[in-house]
Amino acid sequence: MPRRIVIFLLTLFFALPLTAQDNSGAQTIFSSELLNADNKIPIGEYGTLVFRFAGGDVDMPAQIPAEGLEISHSQKHSNFSDVNGVSTFVTTHFYRVRGTELGQYRIPSVSVPFKGSEVSTQPIVVAIHERDDSDAANASRSEFGKLELDKTEFYVNEIVPFTMTGYVRGRNSINDVVRAQLEHESFIFKGFRNVRTNASEIGNTLFSHASLPSTFFALKPGEHRLGPGMMAVRVLESGGGRGLSAFFARTSLKELATNTVTTTVKPLPEGAPASFTGGVGVFLINAKPSTTELNVGDPISMDFEVTGVGNLRTMSAPVFSSTDENWKTFDPAKTLTDEEDSDGIEPGTVRFSQVIIPEFDATEIPSFELTYFNPINAEYVTLKTDPIPITVSDDGSTYEVLEEPLNVSSNNSESSQAADRPAPAFEDMLHIRLTSPRWMAEISPGKPGTLYLVVQVAFSIAFCTIVGFGLFRWIKRHQLRINHPGAPTTFKQSLKRIPKAGAPRKEFYHAVSTSLSLWQKENTDAPPPVQDLIDKITRRCETFLYSGESTSDAPIDPDEAGELHSILRRLQTQ
């Protein structure tokens, strides 16, 4: 009886939720809610939007289109919940919401099909607001990003250093920076090349931070809002262990949004000289020709080295000041490496090379001009190279290559430029050979020669000899086996046939004698002490077998048999 009650109670226990679920059609509720306070999300940061469906599950879209917002599905959770006093199956879908422009935006109503009809949520209005970037506010966050510019007012093309920093609460919390992104259509960013990690206190709270320094320059004048920048950092979940625990600590990826910065980009003043080539900063120029003595029509390669702090990327080559048409000029080439580029703080170097050709007997290379804009004094500055005296002749005489190459300091003036190796021209066939020919019997033979055949024969003889002797020995043994069936043919076989202790003495010694004679045949080069021992035992066997002194056919005693067995075994292993 009690057993039936227990079964009934268990059935009731499992049936109740199913009943609630089956009846959930009557309890269907579909709602949406933004979990951020006052429906406000800081610009660039993620807010959480949830959709709850009571009474089953529905298929939710991966993205929800909304103007000015990015809304994407992140996870789903299901549980039984008490809805209006009824236990109901509730599914919760989580979405991430982010806005990158300030303003108020609307999350639209979401409709999903359920059991032949559609269920919808109410639209939600979201405010994307500027983040409070004060220390007090930041100290209350577990992680955040920060964008800092050296200056917020600057000129077009002016290099501006900036730093993007990710902060995570706790010492040694940041494992590494996976990626960083800061984009704007009016700015050119250099990219993040190195990471500096450290720790500091913000409002009495210790934060680990990873800083990514870089530079940018603006393309368009006007007011621009820069940011929010995004940083993905790998964070130690254990709170930053040390030693072995840090090695095994688990990490998670966190996306940090930075604040935004409003910048004012000023246009370059009007009235730039013709020799202004786009450089903004403070620069110096150095020019050097490849030669100073040449013929009319010979090229001169002018090498320029511009050094300074500023934007070298937008700078073009110095301008040739001469308008004389007798100077033929070609397009200049520019060389700027990332390693030599200026970061706005440290100076950099850019190199230009231009070929010019005097088509008359010029006495000097006219000056080249380079104008740049100095943002500190807000003025254009023109640099001029000094005219370089040259000797141009039209008699075809050779010209001298400058001994000192470009970029070599003056104390290295003894080194000289390596000459180019001339390439063969192959303009005609060589003349015939006039020497007497060396007649040959044949060119290197394609077929094997006599030596090859001799070697074949020698190896064949050696091989056949070994195989022949082996076969001869085998045939001999085979015949012996046919003539004396049962007789051992090898020492190993004979050992197996030696009787044990207790066998007739004569039979025992006969077997030992046979074994010894086979061993001697197989081991002709045995060392003398072993040979002596064999002889002694052989004589002992012969004495017993053939002297007639012993007529007894008594069984051999164990000691004697054991001694001989031992000797024969040692011979086998030798």
């Binding site: 063969p424 192959f426 303009e427 005609d428 066939m429 060589l430 003349h431 015939i432 050979r433 006039l434 020497t435 007497s436 020919p437 060396r438 007649w439 040959m440 019997a441 044949e442 060119i443 290197s444 033979p445 394609g446 094997p448 090859y452 070697v455 074949q456 190896f459 064949s460 050696a462 091989f463 070994i466 195989v467 002797f469 082996g470 076969l471 020995r473 085998w474 197989e522």
Partner: protein, 261 residues
């Protein structure tokens, strides 16, 4: 004593006459060669060519002869023939610098097709002829002797396992050696190649004059004949190509066929 002396004198005279005759016969090719050189230098290239060819017809072999004949052919405008004779000169004297230089000149001038040497080809080209065969033979015989010693000799019985191991390894090396020789004969030895001598030759898709072209073959191009069918040859062409070429447009690098052909 007197008859003996007469016999001796006769014998000596006969020997001297024989030696002089032989010497005259031996000098004859040299004289023809020098005469051909003289013709070349005087601009009589046709005569020079005929004289050089007469020496080749006699089966005489010399890198200088082939080289001079190649240079003469070039002067006569037969650039494909010139390249063929330069290749033959380099077969007789692989490191002949004059021939190398002329090949480089013709390569620049004609833009003919050649098989590219890979790293293995370059090494094998420098190795003595028959290297692979010698490696294979020596390894095979030594391996066989090791194996026969292991199985048939009582003396080597204690070292049987070592001998079997060495024998098997050497047998494997012998396979490598013979394969190397096979590769060398097929891909490296220039005797297996032919040279395009006709000026407007082309590889076709079929052995028919109406067939579509696979590729044009400038004179001097190198091909490897795989099969001959009537007046056509099916050949490997540089650049992993194959096609049919008229036999009359090709000449084998070696052996030197009769000049008329």
């Amino acid at each position: 004593m007197k008859p003996h002396l007469t016999t001796f004198i006769r014998t000596v005279v006969a020997a001297v006459l024989f030696a002089v005759t032989c010497s005259a016969q031996a000098q004859e090719p040299d004289e023809v060669y020098l005469a051909a050189n003289t013709d070349f230098e005087s601009g009589n290239f046709e005569q020079a060519k005929l004289k050089f060819e007469s020496l080749v017809e006699k089966g005489l072999i010399a890198s200088e002869l082939y080289y001079n004949l190649g240079t003469t052919q070039y002067q006569l405008g037969n650039e494909g023939e010139a390249m063929l004779w330069m290749r033959r000169a380099m077969l007789a004297e692989p490191d002949m610098p004059d021939a190398r230089q002329n090949v480089e000149f013709l390569r620049t001038r004609l833009g003919f097709l050649e098989f590219d040497d890979n790293a293995l080809d370059k090494v094998l080209r420098k190795s003595p002829h028959g290297t692979g065969r010698w490696i294979g033979t020596l390894c095979l015989w030594t391996g066989l002797i090791c194996l026969s010693g292991a199985f048939f000799s009582e003396r080597f019985r204690p070292n049987r396992s070592t001998l079997i191991t060495v024998g098997v390894i050497l047998a494997m090396f012998s396979i490598v050696g013979f394969q190397l020789q096979r590769y060398l004969d097929r891909n490296v030895d220039s005797r297996n190649f032919s040279t395009v001598v006709a000026p407007n030759a082309a590889a076709l898709t079929a052995p028919s004059p109406d067939a579509k072209a696979v590729i044009a073959l400038p004179p001097g191009s190198e091909v490897r004949v795989l099969q001959t069918s009537g007046q056509w040859c099916y050949a490997d062409i540089p650049g992993d190509l194959r096609g049919w070429i008229k036999s009359s447009q090709l000449k084998a690098n070696w052996p030197v066929p009769p000049i008329d052909s």
